[in-house]
Subunit: 158 residues, 4 copies
């Protein structure tokens, strides 16, 4: 191998092993896909994407979405990034009598305990989170799951 | 004129006099222009656009922007929509000894009293507001003023 | 007995009956033991120790712990010191229909009603509290109970 | 060079160019140095270290430190990580009549506008922040500057 070939292999290895960090372009590309799906479902939602430190990167409010959905979507992303799980899973744990009952009060009102929040992963590592609010619980949960599912594909296309 | 012709003229007149409402597409188009300008200035900012009810419509955090700028940008948009003035103008009024001294304490920490927030107008009517945070005060103020200036043009191009 | 001998005996008696106050060295020694145990369990947790006035003395976030766990661990220590009981015990009392139902709303979001918080005692007297968050409820509860159990031993070794 | 040798060189190069992320061991090693210096100055302070996302990693309250210093130290670290500057520099900008006057109200009370907060850098890149509170302003500022100064050395020694 000559120097140039080594460089190429090294670059390849690095790019293959490195997890992508969340960024604005990626967040917007993902949001755009979810907006399209929400439109096809005939609903208007707020979509928030955060980085893995639970800091918001982009928030879009579709025309006519609930005013209250802004905080809910942002907080769903915070919750999923902050606890490394979907808010749908947390919902089960936070019911009266269940093990995390009361967790919605521990973080200054930022923990959401119903579906619509998901972590976003690249090769099994969390790189951010997603929050969707504005439809029924089923619709928010479906849209967030859809976003999680297509995330790596969106990431690879950028 | 027959009935159909009258209808057409009326529709035209109404569409010309009607103020456009803020919407997600418009907010994103404006944000995109400001992002380009911020990039050309070599800075990373957070840009928030609200509707005229001071409710956020879209927020974008450019890669590497200050973490603290998210709240500041959103609050600058809130302040401008909420008080129908730029935060640069409010800055003068809120200094010790000036008439609105203390206003930064009145709205649960959402009033920002330095530049970077502007109202967005269509034909002289407020349709929303803009908040920019992440550069120096001068840069934020310049970017917000730029956004205000190009807003109607952006609106007409959609 | 001469004066010097009397002094020595008195000092001994006082030191044996005196409750140790929480301090930074003690808090860190306890945290360190719990970190070791968490590591051996393969989990990353946040550990907070407060004094008997429910004021934090030390907080450590193990690498990779949940972001949301910081507030939760600090609040578990607050809750246990503030109510002189484990948060596991409080969990039972705070369920719907139980006598302290609603207590999670009384202290600005600082009351945690699931396991992982314990009081720390020296000779039966409360000298502080401990909060652990980041594992499952069972793991947090186990780690906090472990911390409570070894506390006096840690205290004697300093 | 054979494949194995190339791999070793590549790993070395990567580890040399990579910026260290903040972690608990590093935060505690830095805090320990600052505690020693505070002790030598005869004062008790609270020391907080955050990662670059402004999330706390470790907080230590020296025995006898002000109760109020816990929030102040944590918030100084938040402010420096959140705005990528020392709180001493921000102090100048936030005075009445200066450009960021009023910034202390924009982020839910987490912006501190007096000295004692510093960013922590590795090879010119921010990897976290430090907050010190409990002495006079001069002492807090000195201790934070000291922490910033020795940070890379502490990092290299781990």
């Amino acid at each position: 191998m000559n120097e140039q070939q080594i460089c190429q292999v090294v670059e390849q290895v690095i790019s293959q092993t490195k997890t992508k960090a969340m960024n604005l372009k990626l967040a917007c590309a993902l949001i755009s896909k979810i907006e399209n799906k929400a439109e096809s479902m005939g609903i208007a939602v707020v979509i928030a994407v955060s980085d893995k430190a639970a800091r918001p990167v982009a928030v879009h409010c579709m025309d006519g979405a609930y005013i209250a959905s802004y905080d809910i979507a942002v907080n769903k992303a915070y919750t999923s990034a902050g606890l490394k799980m979907s808010t749908a899973k947390l919902a089960g744990l936070a019911q009266p009598g269940q093990e995390l009952y009361g967790i919605q009060h521990t973080n200054q009102g930022r923990i959401v305990i119903f579906g619509g929040g998901e972590v976003l992963e690249d090769k099994g590592k969390i790189v951010g989170a997603l929050g969707v609010s504005g439809g029924t619980l089923e619709q928010d949960t479906e849209l967030a799951a859809y976003g999680k599912e297509i995330f790596e594909e969106v990431l690879r296309c950028l």
